[in-house]
Amino acid sequence: MQIADTDILDAFKQNVNKGGSLLFRRYYKPLILFSNSLLNDDTFSEDIVQDVFYHFINTHAYNRISPNTLATFLFRAARNLCVNKIRNTREYTYAELLSFEATEEEAITFSPELVEAIRKAIRQLPEKTRAVVLSIIVEKKKYKETAESLNVSVNTVKTLLNHGLKQLRKQFSDPAIFLFMLSQQSCL
């Protein structure tokens, strides 16, 4: 059963220990995955997520926040920390900025309960297509590496990736999942 944002905030009102424990159970993983995606690096995300939680609890943000905005608050805080981290070493590009925004939107609607549905949709893809999608998106391999390991041409990899993503879009807009996601969005 998914932990609702209302439950987390209610728990905080009773006792910080209880609230914190629920908060971690619900948001630790999504925030780690989110920061990994933004930074393209797994090493700093743990610190970023820890900072987000520290700030949230230490400033008593749970008293001032409504259940509708909890997810937005947490992901925005993590995004700001990631952006700062990047800005410290170089200037970021327009495409990066836009991808951060899109990623944040996705993170807010993404819920643990969607995981199984998405994995199922991926498993239903034709074998080669699935292999390409996983290799490129999950393992973050380049076109060339993927082409070599699957023994196909780079152009085939590109085509299969495109096909796979299109089919997934259809799957993602499956009425049941779609309604579920809409209901999540309407909370914002």
Binding site: G20, K29, L33, E46, L98, V133, L134
Partner: protein
Amino acid sequence: MMIVEEKRTQIHDYLTGAMDEAKQQTFNHWLEQDEEAQQLFREEVQKFRRVEWAERWGQVNDMKAEEHWNDLKKTLKLDHQNKNTSKRILWLSTAAAFVIGIISTFLFYSKPTTTPTIQVAQSTSIKPGRPQATLLLENGEKLLLGETKDTCLILANQNKITISQAGELQYESVKGSKGEGMHTLSIPRGGEYKLALEDGTEIWLNSETKLKYPIHFSGKERRIILKGEAYLQVARNESQPFIVESGDMSIHVLGTSFNISNYTEDGKSLTTLIAGKIRIVMPDETKNITLQPGEQAIVEKGEISVKKVNTKLYSLWMKERFAFEKESIEQVIRKLSRWYNVSFTFADSKIKEKRFTGSIPKYSDISQVLKIIEMTTNIHFIIKDDMITIQ
């Protein structure tokens, strides 16, 4: 006109890292202009994320969530013990808005003649550095800034400075304030501190560093004086150039990020440009030089030279790590001794010339850090009190 399919392919090429830098630039430019492409880009990013997160969901260890929650509980308990003091500071900071000059009493206060007391690490356990600095005001008063956060100070002449929630010292411009003076921020060995000037320029100061700057930037230029090591992100303002004086050289800046390391004991100063453009002005004007990103200017005995460097090595220290690439052990040790505030002695001076490559977590216990060096070199460290012998 590109058809949707072509646009999508472009987007996939970008997202999978198949574009070189030139192509990425063209892509960014195109994306900024084309609204339809922006929409497509968002959709594709979101599909990528959805697949990535669903598949990697199982890889994030649930145990870690619990472990980290327990860590955080410990940290927060520490804060509980400090609750009284932090409340007092907040209350006093409100009061300070009304009572001019009160600030000097609630932070650690010392008369200009007395030297500030700095907590000495226990001799048996050598601790990494932490945020600490002494702020010398224009009237000669000294404030000792430790890990105080979220505080607002009104100085005698209506100047306002804030210590943010992140513990960063910030200057704000106040209309009608006529602060003329200079402030000096000194970071001791074993300290670091972050500062934001009135114009929005951000400066990270490393251990054993001194920075002198005006409270307000009036006049034609923004001029500051640095000794030691700092990483600067200068706010762009073409009509008021930013100038850093450091030793014999001065660095002229428009808006950019760069690192300066100029310690007397190192015998040379290194200026590393991360982004933007800077000009290094030497006493002998024929030696002036303009740096491009990724370049480092080395000033040694009045001579200047430029080389290409891995800028990461010079911009990681203000985050969590020290990074070294084929750096001499002597130089590595100097850095560590400033950060941990310890002394090292070389049993054999030949060791100084050995090289070390690697990155070291900055906030770890020193024994762990030394172990990392021992693992990759044939050097051994013997710790006794706050003296470390290198064999």
